[in-house]
Amino acid sequence: MEKRSRAIYWLTRVPLILAALVVLLPFYVSFVYSVKSAKEIAFTGMAFPTIIHLENFTDAMAKSNFWLAMKNSLLTTVPTVLLLIVVAPMAAYVLGRNTSRGYNLLYSLFMAALLIPFQSIMMPLYSDLRSLGLINTPLGFVLVRSAFALPFNIMVITGFVKNVPREMEEAARIDGAGAARVYFRIVFPLLRPVVASMVVINALDAWNDFQLAVIFMMDKKAHTLPVMLYSFFGQYSVELGMAFATTTLSMIPVLAFYLLMQRHIVSGVMAGAVKG
């Protein structure tokens, strides 16, 4: 029996490894094509490259506005993440600790907002931001992106707060610590695991955002990476090697982030799925 189940185990590795190869194929193709010249692509296709050509990358960077877009992506993502670290856990803490009617109502309001598609607010938001002078500015994007991520953050962190014991806070309160001190000295450190998860999820969401950016960051100087790609591929019919050089370049930062943060990303996904 033991032998048989081990044989079955190894037999099932075959389709699983094949599936992994299929998943990896687009990454492999992007890389291989991006380092080949047009002539080599015609002759050697998908074979692993023997000579690495970097012209595609230099061309892609020159034509696609890559570094500016990278800078804009950082200037929008980092402040969004920081703002959410400050705002979301504070609110979630209060909503997790208080269950009287008003607080519950507020919580339900946030949860109802989870169902609102961005399309239903994008046009009024566009007018509002335009009159505030926040179109094509990182600040405008940061505020909207954070507001839009808020309900999900509050849902996940509130769920976590409910499972954090109250004893330490109460002891500190009896010792005369004020609300701010209790929160920053005792509560926030206890929330660190869930905050870490939300940081990576928020970072990915802001970095990969297209819906907001394509509306609020349409000026060429304000393009984030996804909007830059959209305008780059929409404008030119891009030659194959350079197309893949552009996608490969854009993949590098986020894949590096994944390799470094894998554990947090996965636990973030799990935290978010607990309540759905």
Binding site: I116, F118, N208, V266, M270
Partner: protein, 289 residues
Amino acid sequence: MKPRSSLAARQRAANFCFLAPALLLFVIFILLPFIQGIPVSLTNWNGVTVEHGEFVGLRNYVNIFKQGDFNKAAGVTLLYTLITVTCTNVLGLLLALGVQRTGKLNNFLRSIYFMPFVISLILAAYTWRYLYSDIVNIAFGLHSPLGSMRYALPAVAGIAVWRDAGYAMVVYLAGLQMVPRDYYEAAEVEGAGAPTRFFKITLPLIMPSVTANVVLTLAWGLKQFDLVMAATGGGPGKATETLAVVIYKNIFEFMHAGYGQAAAIVFTVFVAAVSSAVSFLLRRREVEL
């Protein structure tokens, strides 16, 4: 009594201060625009002029159902959602079952399966656009499915499945960890085969993960925008034009802001109704451990 009540008052004031930043963001950038959108949907405003157009009552709402584009897009959206929800969840569950035992190889496979999820839908779309047009062409001598009326939608859905199956797998893995080992042992002693064990034990016990995954992939499907914009722009014809794309085009390309806003509100009701119904039906099937 006095110090106690002032303590409570101070706590309430502190609570308010803690909630204020989140509330401010939420009210200014979500709630207010949502409310502002309602009067706009009752006008023929083009979205550009200073004057907000004329009041047209419910005409936009009537037109949504009379003009074909909204209904057509609703059909496309539902079909797209059906394909992506089904394939993402079936594949995600199969992968999770395959790699649930921890070990070096399985951990490595998990990392690979999840990898596509971290890149943006835009990046995924462009990578696949070239894969479909060049690699598929070289390997099978076929034209890109993205250019075919018939296969464009499944081809776009395929990109989403490639990207999201690993996500579903992670959630299913979390669910599978919660199933007590001894249930399986007991079933094996009773002589239950693998299929029976899966349908009688595993599936009922991981229903919370099924709910979480289905509700989430459903929402992604119904609201799909990025992938379509980058992979096909809605074409060929309107074969891949989802509701989110139709609304965007009406508001920002055709300058039918009033009509587009009305469509967006109908869309909101549509998404909320479908999501709530599906999550209600699934929650009823969850069993307590």
